[in-house]
């Protein structure tokens, strides 16, 4: 075969590979094959120290909500991630650097991230009452779920398909805390978000 033709093909493919590598880096810089590397990059972006994942909740459409509780520094973070191309975990949103306040008995903090036609809601906060055995969240649309409690925090997540016409009126979410016998200890809502310790 003519050497010049082979060389021409080789050079073109080499340049295509180099350009593809550059594009790959710019698109997947914040992603990683391993999920804790993705967490590390996201926490570096928030300028907070790395801590391992406490809890993972699948919220639907391939998204997962990660809860990270950093007892050493008294912080907790929540991150939304998604596996893109079936290989790489990419960071898609969330918040970090919330302080773990030991003077708060229970706090109801909730929010959402919008991904396409779905809103992914989360509810998380500190829990500092040993009597609390069960936490139930009642969302505005009647959806009920139990929150997972570990490491002094609770977490619950769900996704909600945004309807074509949003119903009128404010959305009220509630958090109910029960003890081992099912007795209601606390009720929190948007009007009453936190219960602090006395003294």
């Amino acid at each position: 075969m003519n050497l010049k033709i082979v060389a021409g093909h080789a050079i073109r493919w080499l340049l295509i590979m180099a350009a593809s590598c550059t594009l790959f880096v710019t698109l997947f810089s914040s992603s990683s094959l391993r999920i804790d590397q993705t967490v590390r990059k996201a926490l570096n972006m928030f300028e907070v120290p790395f801590a391992p994942i406490t809890e993972r909740i699948k919220t639907g459409q391939g998204y997962e909500l990660l809860q990270i509780v950093d007892k050493e520094h008294g912080l907790y973070h929540h991150l939304f991630v998604k596996k893109t191309l079936g290989l790489f975990w990419s960071y898609r949103g969330g918040g970090g650097g919330r302080p773990l306040d030991e003077h708060t008995v229970l706090e109801f903090l909730w929010g959402y991230s919008t991904f396409g036609k779905y809103r992914h809601y989360y509810a998380a906060g500190p829990v500092n009452d040993a009597r609390i055995a069960k936490l139930k969240i009642m969302w505005w649309d009647g959806h009920e779920q139990e929150a997972d409690i570990n490491n002094g925090t609770y977490i619950a997540a769900r996704s909600y398909r945004i309807p074509k016409e949003e119903p009128e009126g404010t959305s009220h979410n509630h958090l109910y805390a029960y003890d081992v016998n099912g007795v209601l200890l606390y009720e929190l809502s948007d009007d009453n978000r936190a219960i602090k310790k006395e003294g």
Binding site: I16, A19, T22, V25, N44, M45
Partner: protein, 155 residues
């Protein structure tokens, strides 16, 4: 067969290569016109900084230069990381040689392949400063650059 392959190769090269070049414009400082910087250089307010990079939350941060004049101070920073789009610090602080801590008024940053750059602008800065310390601390990690401001500026 060979002609079709060549056509595919050239198309891929132009499309993917074009996108890659577009992404690399920021890295090689092409089409980055900073009028504030060139004006400051003309007035003699630009101080070039030659320091070693420091690691802060996974970023290799370095101060490139400082503009100091007419009551304003602008600190230019860059982060570098091969085969990645490096992160850029969210905030920095400046402490003057007399111990006064300044907060920045505006900031700007842009990220790109291998290099991300940006600057923080401080206003109502006292005159005749001999040096400043650009620093930031959080959760045990810190960065700190001592920048002398006397002896005139470099062009």
């Amino acid at each position: 067969m060979r002609i079709a392959l060549r056509k595919i190769e050239w198309t891929l090269l132009v499309v993917i290569g074009g996108l890659a070049v577009f992404n690399l414009l920021h890295t090689f400082d092409l089409f980055d016109r900073d009028t504030q910087l060139s004006e400051a250089k003309k007035k003699g307010y630009y101080y070039k900084v030659d320091a070693d990079a420091q690691t802060y939350f996974g970023m290799r941060v370095n101060v490139d230069g400082v503009i100091y004049g007419e009551g304003k101070l602008t600190v230019y920073l860059s982060t570098k990381d091969l085969f990645s789009v490096p992160l850029f610090p969210n905030r920095i602080q400046v402490t003057t040689d007399s111990g006064e801590v300044l907060s920045y008024r505006t900031s700007s940053g842009s990220t790109g392949y291998y290099k991300s750059t940006g600057h923080f602008t401080f206003e109502q800065v006292p005159e005749n400063l001999k040096s400043i310390t650009v620093h930031q601390e959080a959760y045990g990690q810190s960065l700190s650059f001592l920048i002398p401001l006397e002896g005139g500026s470099s062009k």
